[in-house]
Amino acid sequence: MSDTEPVVDPEEVRHVADLARIDLDDDEVDRFTEQFADILEYFETLDEVPEVDIDEELANVMRPDEVRDSLSQAEALENAPESEDGYFKGPNVS
């Protein structure tokens, strides 16, 4: 067993939600705290898995760097809730 035994409490759920950039309401925090404890306990069985040599058949797939047709700027912006002067418009960064 590792020294990072999972502790699932509402604070931890809020912390992970913050990392994932998803706000949760209080009810969701309560439900997730309960469910995550069960699910993470179930994932604990992975501790029994032996180490296996991974023999990946991976190969780089290369192609020439050539200009090809792509979406126009207008098409790329079609689904943006807001745009301005050909750019996506988002909220302030700071």
């Binding site: 990392l19 950039r21 998803i22 992975l46 023999d55």
Partner: protein, 447 residues
């Protein structure tokens, strides 16, 4: 066209070419596969009004082959579910088992095929999402070998696991649709040429197979393999996939195996201890990949923005609270947790060890058998509403389907019969990499 069982999210028609192998036939498309000019929601409020500016490669291939797309089918939100109940557009009812789920996540696709509202359909399968609904709706579904079918234009959930696959009333029709969508695509670097892949694996096995019917140049002739000829077929049965299964399901399964035996097949038990860890390995891997893949939904380039002002991160978090349903939030959070500092070795790395183990041992088992057989689902279709409150129970229903995704192998679900209560039961065959012909031939003996 509308369906009272809620199979379609959108019923805008996309006409295919006049001629081709699919001319005159309709192919419904799961709503996480991009269709130019026709909204593609992924079953999520986040993408309620998202209209892709381009077609997925599989959509281009279907319309070029003469297929007409009658609409976009209902699904669990972003593919995250086994029952089609996590859709933001309401659940789909199983057309052949009133009051029950159609399976998921491609539940709409299987439902419209079994109801006769489309001749065939496309689903996507990350951990069983084509095979589960095929089994629950009494139709055929194929999860191709990873890399056989292009994922270009498919909205990613767990991209190291998922493939687009056909759903149809018979194995032959599913094979015909697979012939149309299979093949390398320059826009998806994970696709491979099945001919090259087959001849590479044959030469590794020291088996030239020159005179055999499995010559590599026939690698894409799927419909021709649906000849029902299983004389001499050697079936391996991993007992781990029967141990936890419902008796109503195993009864139907063994009856089907008896039937295959009577027609010239033989079977033997295989022991695959690694399969006991498939569900955990699958969920840790898929959730981790999902936490990264779904980071793109920020309400700026596409998706629901909520219209908030202020700090970028806070705005982003509020838009995602509104746009995502509970199961999606849960999986993104658990994936974020599994990849976070201190837990990555414990969860993500161990899941990759389990995946390598599963891959190795299934491939070894397939050296001693033509195909591996099991029930597709360990349970008959659940009642609507039964599984939503307890996600862990729903995850366990994926025990028999997730191994093929983890091992990158092809698998087919074919109708095996019904329980005494009239609920459909599916039988799954898993085969060697790019050995779709083997599972199609085996499956065609049943449907």
């Amino acid at each position: 066209m509308s369906t009272e069982y809620n199979g379609y999210i959108t019923t805008e028609r996309i006409d295919g070419a006049d001629d081709g192998p699919l001319a005159g036939r309709t192919v419904a498309v799961k709503d996480n596969i991009s269709t130019e000019g026709v909204r593609t929601t992924c079953g999520s409020a986040m993408l309620d009004d998202y209209v892709p500016p381009y077609d997925a490669t599989v959509v281009e291939r279907i319309t070029a082959a003469g297929g007409t797309i009658p609409g976009k089918t209902n699904m669990d939100e972003f593919g995250m579910g086994t029952t089609t109940e996590t859709s933001a557009f309401g659940s789909t009812e199983n057309p052949v088992a009133e009051g029950h789920v159609p399976g998921g996540s491609s539940g709409g696709s299987a439902a419209v095929v079994t109801a006769g509202d489309a001749d065939m359909a496309l689903g996507t399968d990350t951990g069983g999402s084509v095979r589960a609904p095929a089994a629950f709706c009494g139709v055929v579904g194929i999860k191709p070998t990873y890399g056989l079918v292009s994922r270009y234009g498919v909205v990613a959930y767990g991209n190291s696991l998922e493939q687009v696959g056909p759903i149809a009333p018979t194995v032959k029709e599913a094979a015909e649709l697979l012939e149309v969508i299979a093949g390398p695509d320059p826009s998806d670097a994970t696709t491979r040429d099945a001919r090259e892949a087959r001849s590479a694996s044959d030469s590794r096995a020291g088996d030239a197979r020159e005179t055999s019917e499995e010559r590599s140049e026939d690698a894409y002739d799927y419909a021709a393999a649906a000849d029902g000829d299983i004389d001499g077929l050697d079936i391996g049965i991993p007992m781990e996939l029967l141990d936890g299964a419902d008796e109503r399901v195993t009864e139907v399964f063994w009856d089907a195996i008896d039937d295959l035996e009577a027609r010239g097949a033989t079977y033997h038990d295989v022991d695959l201890e690694c399969l006991r860890y498939a569900v955990e390995a699958y969920y840790v891997t898929a959730m981790s990949e999902a936490s990264s893949n779904l980071a793109r939904f920020d309400g700026v380039r596409y998706g629901q923005s909520g219209g908030y002002d202020g700090n970028w991160n806070e705005t982003f978090a509020r838009a995602r609270e509104e746009g995502f349903g509970e199961e999606v939030k849960s999986r993104v959070l658990l994936g974020t947790y599994a990849l976070s500092a201190g837990y990555q070795d414990k969860y993500y790395k161990k899941a990759q060890d389990a995946r390598a183990w599963i891959k190795r041992d299934i491939n070894d088992a397939l050296e001693g058998a033509d195909v591996l057989a099991s029930p597709t689902m360990p349970v008959p279709p659940m009642e609507l509403g039964e599984s939503l409150e307890d996600p862990l129970t729903m995850y366990l229903a994926d025990a028999n389907t997730t191994p093929a995704n983890l091992a990158n192998l092809p698998a087919i679900s074919v109708p095996a019969g019904e329980t005494d209560g009239g609920l459909p039961v599916g039988l799954q065959f898993m085969g060697p990499a790019f050995g779709e012909r083997a599972i199609i031939r085996a499956g065609s003996a049943l449907a």
